[in-house]
């Protein structure tokens, strides 16, 4: 079962790299959706004593949100904006991939410095590095990609990374909080979607580089 978790995590990493490699928005959304879907399975695998009802519900909710709802929202705002692909990212798409690998290496180092406290068992020892890598990858997207939509995607990837960590390590997260978290993320993305809609309507572009009137 650990092996299965491993494969999922590796897929997640690959998806990160793929995401870094694409400049066009539509495929990027698709990739993030895929990542969400995959992660939906994770809860079912983590706990040794079978998937309880709580985890099952969590899995369903995750898939529903990360895999279906978010992409829908993002497609909507993509249609509303006339942006098709990243104009000129701070770091070019091709250059992003090797940097992504560097981030991966870095996160492996970090993970190596953490040793899990006694009494904490984890589905796979890939969990921590992958989680960190995904988080960094998300931040990297937000920082380098200048299309507002891409930044939302970056935010989602970041969220996914945290999700990986949370599901795999923090068993004591009560259901109430889980749902609260998901709800918040959902509303967050929803509001961002609206914001993007407004941006594209008022500025007829969603290039955040040009959103820099407010400065000192």
């Amino acid at each position: 079962m650990g092996s299965l978790a491993d494969t999922i995590l590796i897929i997640v990493v690959l998806l990160n790299l793929a995401l870094l490699g694409t400049g066009r928005l539509r495929p990027s959304i698709r990739l993030v959706a895929a990542q969400g879907m995959i992660l939906g399975l994770l809860p079912l695998l983590v706990s040794e004593h079978g998937a309880g009802l709580r985890l099952a519900l969590l899995a369903v909710a995750t898939v529903a949100l990360k895999g279906v709802a978010f992409p829908k929202l993002l497609y909507r705002s993509l249609r509303s904006s006339n942006a098709k692909h990243e104009i000129d990212p701070v770091v070019g798409v091709t250059a992003s991939v090797p940097l992504g690998l560097l981030l991966l290496a870095g996160s492996f180092w970090m993970a190596s410095r953490f040793q899990l406290p006694a009494g904490v068992e984890v589905a796979s020892n890939l969990v921590l590095p992958v989680a960190l890598a995904t988080i960094l990858c998300g931040l990297f997207l937000i920082i380098t990609r200048l299309q507002a939509l891409n930044q939302v995607l970056g935010y989602l990837v970041l969220e996914n990374g945290i999700f990986v960590f949370g599901v795999a390590l923090a068993h004591e997260e009560p259901f109430l909080v889980e749902t609260g978290v998901l709800l918040d993320v959902f509303v967050g993305v929803f509001v961002m979607g609206i914001a993007i809609f407004h941006i594209s309507r008022t500025f007829d572009h969603i290039d955040v580089k040009q959103l820099s009137r407010l400065k000192d």
């Binding site: 006694a118 945290i162 609260g180 918040d184 967050g188 407004h198 009137r213 407010l214 000192d216």
Partner: protein, 538 residues
């Protein structure tokens, strides 16, 4: 019951106001909800209700303090809003700076979000579970975003976007912090340890230090973003300057404190787990960074609302330093949170009046406020003195206490930097705010409105509260401060310490720094409170 009411009243009335047809009704609802909320909050001071089942929500002293701040400020800006909204013309109108047409957000949405904002802040202050706390903080972001976008023009949209993105990312890191904390908690052998604050504090010693500290890092950056600690403060000046003034008042006075509460609770945990030194040093570093950044931009301020925003960054820095210094510094910090919130809110509301009349945020275009708007002008000057920590305002006492903590702790460098930065900021603000309020007013201003009770009343009340704190701190409040202060002392080895203290010192210190009730309480527990100085020297 009360706890539920505190959250549900604003939430429900918020949702209600989305559909409420009559404008008058909405405003009435706003004020009514504010009044009820404030009433309930004050009632908490007399009797604290039982925690909710599962002790998800409960009233503890730090929470109550920050809840009081939030509720009071909301009351003030709710009243202010009723006047403010009537000035905002609903029709499409010309933008001040870029000369294009735009229209305001529908008032129903505005008021609705305002109330939801209050609800979420209440949730933050009352939640006894780190996860729930996080949910609340994220909720505040989402509820306040539409408020910043009230004037639907380019700049406010930009500000909203920055606010959303940066804060969401920050909060996400805080979520990571939650999970890391959970890991460190699950290290504890006892399996009943979860993220309940009380529970964690009780089992603090069992927590895994490495992961706890890691968690603190995530929380510090995450909630620090929301709190406006440099260098994560970047969203703050934009949001505060573009939001309508009553909202700026709430953001700066209440919201930042809520985020601070998050950090404070983790710090409490670290101290309880004996890792206090770690969190303290980090807080001091970030505090100083924030003050320096604020100093830089206050000196070069061109827009008075932005200047006020940067001053918020400065004061958040002071809070961080105070807590970071520990001992009396904590007292100073908590007290300062009160002073700063009230002062800053008063200033933002006054700024709203100035903005309304002069129709510009540029400092160079505003002169002679105290002639054009006598009361607002006086408020502006008083606010200036208060915000720069000048006697006889409460801010002086709190900043003085923080300074004292720094010197007691032999942190000469910190103390010096602190004073130098305060001085620079004083000069910067003096240049701006005196220039604005004095001098001869222009014969004609874009808007001809005068000081009205509803527009100056709230800030007058807040300002006079700060003035009162300069002379008198109500007993319960004072005890609450002391309690919080004692709650973040290093619990370990305080017993053998108690033997070694010079009696004279303890007597003086406790007489001055810690009020006698708490002292006696401590005696019953057999632990002697140490002087702040020695606590840190040890």
């Amino acid at each position: 019951m009360t706890i539920a009411a505190l959250i549900l009243i604003p939430a429900a009335s918020g949702l209600l106001s989305f559909w409420l047809p009559s404008q008058l009704g909405r405003r009435a609802l706003l004020v009514a909800a504010a009044v009820m909320h404030l009433g309930l909050t004050l009632s908490l001071w007399s009797a604290r209700p039982e925690p909710t089942p599962g002790s998800w929500l409960a009233v503890d002293t730090p929470g109550l303090l920050f809840l009081t701040i939030a509720s009071t400020l909301f009351m003030a800006s709710a009243i202010y809003c009723t006047g403010y909204l009537s000035h905002e013309d609903v029709a499409t109108h010309i933008d001040r700076e870029e000369r294009f047409l735009f229209s305001n957000e529908p008032e129903s949405v505005f008021i609705g979000c305002l109330l939801l904002f209050l609800a979420s802040m209440t949730l933050v202050t009352l939640s006894q579970h780190f996860g729930l706390l996080w949910v609340g903080v994220e909720a505040t972001t989402l509820a306040s975003a539409p408020l910043i976008y009230f004037h639907r023009n380019h700049r406010s949209l930009e500000a909203t976007w920055k606010y959303l993105l940066i804060c969401s990312v920050g909060i996400a890191l805080a979520l990571m912090g939650n999970f890391v904390l959970a890991v460190s908690a699950s290290a504890a052998q006892a399996h009943d340890v979860n993220l309940h604050v009380t529970n964690l504090l009780a089992n603090a010693s069992k927590l895994d230090g490495v992961w706890l500290k890691a968690a603190f890092l995530f929380f510090l950056v995450g909630y620090g973003t929301k709190m406006g600690l440099a260098p994560m403060h970047t969203w703050l000046p934009d949001a505060h300057s573009e939001a309508p003034s009553p909202v700026s008042a709430l953001l700066s006075g209440a919201l930042l404190n809520c985020a601070f509460l998050g950090i404070f609770r983790v710090h409490q945990l670290c101290t309880a787990a004996g890792e206090g030194e770690f969190s303290r040093s980090l807080l001091v570093v970030f505090g100083l960074m924030s003050m320096s950044v604020a100093a830089v931009f206050i000196l070069r301020a061109r827009d008075f609302k932005r200047m006020l925003a940067y001053s918020s960054v400065e004061h958040m820095g002071i809070l961080a330093i105070g807590v970071g210094l520990g001992g009396a510094g904590v007292l100073g910090a908590i007290f300062h949170a009160f002073n700063h919130s009230f002062t800053k809110a008063a200033l933002f509301l006054a700024a709203g009046n100035i903005l309304l009349v002069y129709d510009t945020k540029s400092i160079n275009d505003v002169r002679g406020v105290q002639r054009r708007l006598p009361i607002t002008g006086a408020l502006w000057l008083a606010g200036f003195l208060a915000i720069t920590g000048t006697p006889p305002f409460g801010t002086f006492l709190s900043e003085f206490t923080v300074l004292r903590a720094a010197l007691d702790a032999d942190r000469a460098v910190v103390a010096t930097l602190y004073l130098v930065l305060l001085a620079i900021i004083f000069i910067g603000m003096a240049n701006v705010m005196l220039k604005m309020s004095q001098g001869t007013a222009p014969e004609s201003t874009p808007n001809s409105s005068k000081d009205k009770l509803v527009s100056v009343g709230p800030s007058l009340v807040l300002a006079s509260l700060v003035f009162m704190f300069g002379f008198y701190i109500p007993k319960p409040l004072r005890n609450a401060f002391d309690e919080v202060t004692l709650s973040v002392r290093e619990k370990k080895d305080s017993l053998e310490e108690s033997a070694t203290i010079v009696p004279l010192r303890v007597e003086n210190e406790t007489l001055t720094a810690i009020s006698t009730e708490v002292q006696s309480a401590l005696h019953e527990h057999g632990t002697e409170p140490k002087t702040d100085a020695e606590e840190i020297r040890e």
